[in-house]
């Protein structure tokens, strides 16, 4: 029964969702409400599960003095600071002027943005070392990349802006690449992914694909 019950639940929920999508009327719309309520509850619990798991792993790391345990101290302190500021603020803890809002605006936001901004430096360095026109495909990618990079910034305006009004050859080429080759490629990928999702979903609903249950086949 440990295998059969999850398979039955998956089948019932999967079929109910498919039906309610195509027949959004009573009684099928009630399935959607019921199952999406459950989904909201599970999703909210998953956030807590993730947060508490992070705390648990960090505390174990500190306790056992594992490699780089000092970073775990930062995680625990940050976690507790944000949680205490949030709970202390009551229901409207996110409104402007609260301690949580201050921490978010002046600590969390700049730190997160800085971490992501560092990527620009690594991308520049990695492009220099790895982006080589070794063959035709790589050369095409390189040229397309250059054209889009130039078309998406101010090259046109700097090079031609003072001479010709509304002369934007690089922007036009960039728009062409985005609107035709890119769009065609993206469509092909999306159709492929969609077909893959449909077939996998059917396999799961019908109980053919069981790897999500764990423990071998």
């Amino acid at each position: 029964m440990r295998r059969e019950i999850p398979l039955i639940i998956t089948f019932v929920v999967g079929v109910a969702f498919v039906i309610q999508y195509f027949i959004p009327h009573s009684p099928f719309d009630r399935f959607e409400q019921l199952f999406s309520d459950w989904f909201f509850i599970i999703a909210a619990c998953a956030i807590w599960l993730g947060a508490l798991n992070l705390m648990k792993l960090s505390l174990i790391k500190i306790q056992k003095r594992r490699k780089d345990w000092q970073y775990a101290v930062v995680i625990v302190v940050s976690w507790l600071t944000m949680a205490i500021a949030g709970f202390a603020g009551g229901r409207d803890f996110q409104t402007p002027g609260t301690a949580f809002d201050w921490l978010y605006q002046y600590i969390y936001t700049p730190l997160s943005a800085t971490m992501f901004a560092i990527l620009a430096f690594f991308v520049a360095s990695a492009s220099y070392r790895a982006f080589r026109a070794r063959n035709l495909q790589a050369s095409l990618l390189l040229v397309a990349g250059f054209l889009v990079m130039m078309g998406r910034v101010l090259f046109d305006d700097i090079l031609f802006g003072r001479l010709f009004e509304n002369f934007q050859p690089l922007a036009d080429v960039s728009n062409f690449i985005m609107n035709y080759p890119n769009m065609a490629g993206q469509r092909a990928i999306m159709i492929g992914i969609a077909l893959g999702i449909v077939s996998t979903a059917l396999r799961i609903i019908l109980g053919i694909e069981r790897s999500y249950l764990g423990g071998g086949d």
């Binding site: 996110q94 620009a120 982006f131 390189l142 998406r152 910034v153 890119n182």
Partner: protein, 279 residues
């Protein structure tokens, strides 16, 4: 070791330094250029312009601080534009940090003297519904009833007690949806559920990395327009007249792109020259 071999072995800290300078120096030059407007930005702006004053607009902030440098300027301009047009603004987020990013935009808009003079009132002219976990299921649930997805707003006020939401039951009471997205859940999910299933009119602002994924929806008419990356934000700022960070940072981005292009070209020349010598 020859010049090209030295180039290939250049310390990456030199590249970091040049990128840093290329980003930093233009910020202080104070030079702005007249940007050309791409069709996808123009159509989005035109659609907004066609909405009557006082329309109900849902803005969904599906990003977090790491993407804010790209998305915040366009969000700021959109919020200012909405307030200027007296749109009734409903804010929400499928990312936990999204509604807080929206608060930053609202605060920024409130600094504008013209908007300040309107004495906009929270709950009457705009409301922030906050974050709800559940990704695309939240959108699906909103198709039936917003209240079921957001029983309370970000300040803990009951949905039924917010005057702005009295006549807003679901997407049929919303004139336009403006999504700012940095990934999943985001524009793709809004298209697949809100547009395809509930017939919502949707415009989007995406990070430059994500924007190419949205082009098929743009071509199919499922998206009325798209602001892609900082350039999209700068173009939108130009159209709305709220020139700010995106316009200012375009020159920095131009110089940074130039540095990357020059280095990639140099790297390729060095690679081929040294390979030829080895052969």
């Amino acid at each position: 070791m020859g010049f090209w071999n030295t180039m290939l072995a250049v310390d990456r800290r030199w590249i970091f330094l040049l990128v840093f300078l290329s980003l930093l120096i233009p910020m202080f030059l104070g030079v702005t250029f007249k940007l050309s407007i791409s069709p996808e930005v123009q159509t989005l702006y035109d659609t907004l312009e066609q909405l009557p004053n006082g329309s109900t607009v849902l803005m969904t902030f599906d990003y977090d601080p790491p993407s804010a440098p790209e998305l915040q300027p366009m969000a700021d301009a959109a919020v200012k534009y909405a307030f200027k047009r007296d749109f009734k603004l409903i804010i929400m987020g499928l990312w936990p940090q999204g509604p807080l990013q929206a608060e930053i935009s609202v605060r920024e808009a409130m600094k504008d003297p013209e908007i300040q003079a309107r004495n906009l009132e929270y709950g009457v002219d705009y409301v922030n519904l906050g974050f709800q976990a559940g990704n695309e299921f939240v959108i699906q649930r909103m198709g039936t009833d917003f209240r079921e997805a957001f029983p309370r707003d970000i300040r803990g006020t009951d949905y039924s007690e917010v005057p702005l939401l009295k006549n807003t039951k679901n997407f049929s009471n919303v004139d336009f949806v403006f999504n700012f997205s940095a990934g999943y859940p985001g524009t793709v999910e809004w298209v697949q559920i809100a547009v395809d299933r509930f017939g919502v009119k949707l415009g989007a602002g995406n990070t430059a990395v994500q924007a190419p994924l949205a082009y098929p929806y743009l071509g199919a008419g499922q998206l009325v327009g798209l602001l892609g990356g900082m350039r999209g934000g700068a173009e939108f700022e130009r159209l709305t007249g709220f020139k700010a960070k995106a316009t200012t940072f375009m020159l920095s981005q131009t110089f940074a792109h130039a540095i990357v292009i020059v280095f990639v070209i140099l790297g390729n020349i060095a690679y081929f020259v040294t390979r030829k010598k080895e052969q």
